[in-house]
């Protein structure tokens, strides 16, 4: 196992910790001839060890997909088209994991088993692409179709109140908060623009070539979500000040 990889994995969540076995095994199962990365690491290269690793890796992905699929199905913000696309990917990956698990278990040749094992990762990228892209698209759709329109409506309501019946309660602090509200809504709109379309377009092959391909998308969704959260707080603050 590469030391940096081990440190990274051990520092992450329990979910990631469950993957340590498969990660270490994946590296251990690299094709013969690759340089050993750590002297202390035992390298199981037997057929049975690869089969065991394959069973664990596929099971972890099936478990994650079984959690993601109902969540996507129940999501109220994904469009029907996007939901069909996401569910097609997730259900397809799940079926592929089941098939691969059975094939690896039945493999009789170590080289074939290793190739099948690596295809769990390179062919599907369940954890790197399939599940994240569904999450980013769902979050972006929720922001674009629900949260931002609601914030714009609340902003209009507050502007009307401040310039009309509640004008006597207006203060410089309220004006400053209203200015921040406008800024946060703009930030959310700009950050989330195009995110859903791009996230859903990313393929495992693209990730294999560029492991950072979804990094900007993830950052954009986080920025938009944070801006929407701040805008929500601004709305609540102004409402309280006017009440």
């Amino acid at each position: 196992m590469k030391p940096s990889l081990a440190a990274s994995i051990l520092a992450t969540t329990v979910t990631a910790a469950l993957l340590v076995g498969s990660c270490s095994a994946a590296l251990a199962a690299e094709p013969a001839g690759s340089a050993p990365s750590a002297p202390a690491t035992t390298a199981p290269r037997t057929l049975s060890s690869v089969q065991a690793l394959g069973a664990g890796a596929t099971a972890a992905r099936i478990s994650a997909l079984d959690k993601a699929i109902p969540r996507v199905t129940a999501n109220a913000y994904l469009s029907a088209t996007d939901k069909d696309r996401v569910l097609g990917t997730l259900n397809g990956d799940r079926a592929a994991m089941v098939t691969l698990a059975a094939k690896i278990a039945a493999d009789t040749d170590l080289t074939v088993a290793k190739a099948d094992y690596h295809s769990i990762f390179t062919g599907y990228r369940v954890f790197a692409v399939a599940i994240p892209q569904s999450l980013y698209a769902a979050a972006a759709s929720g922001l674009q179709d629900a949260a931002i329109p609601a914030l714009l409506s609340a902003q209009a309501t507050l502007v009307a109140a401040i310039s009309g019946p509640l004008a006597s309660k207006d203060t410089p602090a309220i004006d400053a908060t209203m200015a921040d509200l406008a800024s946060q809504i703009r930030s959310a709109q700009q950050s989330v623009s195009g995110v859903s379309v791009f996230a859903l377009s990313v393929t495992p092959e693209q990730f294999n070539s560029n492991h950072e391909i979804l990094a900007a998308t993830r950052a954009s969704v986080k920025t938009a979500a944070a801006a929407a959260k701040k805008a929500r707080a601004d709305v609540a603050s102004v409402k309280a000040a006017l009440t």
């Binding site: 969540t13 990660c23 790197a128 929720g142 609601a150 509640l166």
Partner: protein, 90 residues
């Protein structure tokens, strides 16, 4: 012998007594419950109050924002976890 002022005096006492008890002359025996501010017919109806409140719709809009956030925040964290593992773990 009864004074010629006896009857008017008795009437005056009666009026003063009723006034001290919170009643108005001429209304004794017809007094109903004192209307509370909340039940006063002079106040606008709840529907009228809602339409008159310039901030009435804010809570509903904030609830929409909360509903959207509830479906995305945890998911994004999960995405971080998924993306944080090494190449062959993905």
């Amino acid at each position: 012998m009864r004074s010629r002022w006896a009857l008017p005096a008795a009437g005056l006492v009666l009026v003063l007594g009723l006034t001290a008890c919170g009643a108005r002359p001429g209304t004794a025996g017809r007094e109903g419950p004192v209307p509370s501010p909340a039940s006063s017919a002079a106040l606008p109806s709840p529907a009228a109050s809602a339409s008159a409140d310039p901030l009435a719709d804010i809570d509903r809009q904030l609830a929409i924002v909360d509903g959207s956030a509830a479906q995305s925040t945890g998911d994004l964290t999960a995405g971080d976890t998924s993306a944080s593992v090494g190449d062959d773990g993905q």
